[in-house]
């Protein structure tokens, strides 16, 4: 009996230390969510101003831009999947990957080939384990993304897209506008899959089309006296749009990364909370079993002593 008692105690200790770890991770995730939300709020003014500027150009000039033009036909699409770098976040990464797989399946059904761009070590591990080709990947920033990373991603995706539209134009006998010299396979559309942070409890993987751009008007419709003023563009509308649109794409990627970071932390906090709860449950159970084992040991010892004493008494009585 004594051996198993020692075993139970060792098991309780090990679960206790697991519980300490998961509790700590839960608290860290909880405090980082607030920071991630603050970061998302801090980035909001830039996105708002940029959207305003883009819609101003779009409203007051009818400049055609490769980034906003629907391609005539589309046979190759890129998907940017945003996952986490570290595990222990419940189903966070796998549900983002699942959403991406669904999208890829749908695109393949439309006769398009799919190129993968992956952010986060978990996504990279998923696809490289399945020996799927990844065009480009970025890791090491998933819980606190910087704008630099978003810019790199945006540039990579725009490169692939511009190469795609250039190739199509060349086929139609028009002159492509440079953009050569990239090794990325040209694509005609770019999608992005990330996890939207709706609340601390709800995060949902979402797929959005990034390119060709659909300019999202600001949410509140301008009222009568709040119409956009008649802007002068310098050097010209086309140049301004040329400079604005890539930034717009990057800012949307950045926004997605920030949302994904907040979602990751929320998912991790929830996963770690339930892990801590489970550890508590286990400790309770093992403590009960250990107490029972100890009590059984004591009972057995007492009955052995009583039995021994009785036997002695019987022997003495027989002798007298």
């Amino acid at each position: 009996m004594a051996v198993s008692l020692r075993e139970y105690r060792a098991r309780i200790r090990s679960v206790e230390s697991t519980k300490k770890i998961t509790r700590a991770m839960e608290l860290i995730a909880a405090s980082r969510i607030i920071k991630a939300q603050q970061r998302a709020q801090a980035a909001a003014p830039y996105a708002r101003e940029l959207t305003r500027a883009v819609s101003a150009v779009a409203t007051y000039s009818n400049v055609e831009h490769p980034l906003t033009t629907e391609p005539q036909e589309s046979n190759r699409a890129a998907i940017l999947v945003v996952t986490s770098d570290r595990g222990l976040a419940g189903a966070y990464s796998s549900s983002a990957v699942k959403e991406a797989e669904q999208l890829a399946e749908k695109l393949r059904g439309e006769g398009k080939e799919v190129d993968l761009y992956v952010s986060g070590r978990k996504g990279v591990a998923y696809y490289s384990f399945r020996r799927r080709e990844i065009q480009d990947s970025w890791t090491g920033h998933s819980d606190q993304p910087t704008y630099e990373v978003a810019r790199e991603m945006g540039e990579a995706l725009i490169d692939a897209f511009i190469a795609g539209t250039d190739a199509q134009r060349a086929e139609r006998g028009e002159r492509g506008e440079g953009g050569g010299g990239t090794q990325r396979p040209p694509v005609q559309e770019v999608h992005m899959v990330y996890t939207r942070f709706r609340s601390m409890l709800v995060q949902e993987p979402t797929a959005v089309r990034l390119l060709p751009l659909e300019i999202v008007e600001s949410e509140e419709r301008p009222t009568e006296d709040d119409v956009l003023p008649l802007f002068e563009f310098e050097p010209g509308p086309a140049e301004v749009l040329d400079a604005l649109l890539p930034k717009y794409v990057q800012s949307r990627v950045y926004f997605a990364l920030l949302q994904a970071a907040a979602s990751e932390l929320a998912a991790r906090q929830r996963a770690m909370k339930s892990a801590t709860d489970n550890a508590e449950e286990l400790i309770k159970k093992y403590t009960r079993i250990a107490n029972q084992a100890r009590q059984a040991g004591i009972t057995q010892e007492i009955s052995e002593i009583v039995g021994g004493v009785n036997a002695l008494a019987d022997a003495n009585a027989a002798n007298e």
């Binding site: 970061r39 801090a42 980035a43 003014p45 830039y46 101003e49 940029l50 305003r52 500027a53 101003a56 150009v57 770098d85 970025w138 890791t139 090491g140 920033h141 910087t146 704008y147 630099e148 990373v149 978003a150 810019r151 790199e152 956009l228 003023p229 008649l230 802007f231 002068e232 563009f233 310098e234 050097p235 140049e239 301004v240 400079a243 604005l244 930034k247 990057q250 800012s251 950045y254």
Partner: protein, 114 residues
């Protein structure tokens, strides 16, 4: 007029100002109250702002945009460094690092490691 200097990750400054001086692709531009609405591409360089309380600050920006409408001036850029927040020694060290990196093969910054 109301001026806001907005970098991609945060708003650096916003408040009332009298004059904004900076350089666009088309040349230097100075903006005072009631300027005509304009949307322009900025060159990498500096933004020079005089505030209403006779204050003055400059900021280094890496290009971007300026939009002026109804006495609201917004300066947008990826990255900016504002004079009263930046540290000269720190900036110099960063410059040296960047120059060293550039001359050492121009590898892109390695953000692939956690």
């Amino acid at each position: 007029m109301n001026v806001a200097l907005v970098a991609a990750d945060r708003m650096l400054w916003s408040g009332q100002a009298t004059v904004v001086n900076t350089r666009t692709l088309a040349g230097d531009i100075g903006i005072m109250a009631n300027h005509t609405p304009i949307l322009s591409v900025l060159e990498p360089g500096k933004v020079d702002v005089r505030t209403v309380d006779d204050g003055h600050w400059v900021a280094a920006i890496d290009g971007g945009f300026i939009s002026v409408a109804k006495n609201q001036v917004s300066i947008l850029c990826d990255r900016a460094e504002i004079s009263h927040e930046s540290d000269f020694e720190e900036a110099k060290r960063k410059l040296d690092e960047a120059v060293a990196k550039e001359s050492g093969g121009g590898a892109r910054p390695d953000n692939r490691q956690g």
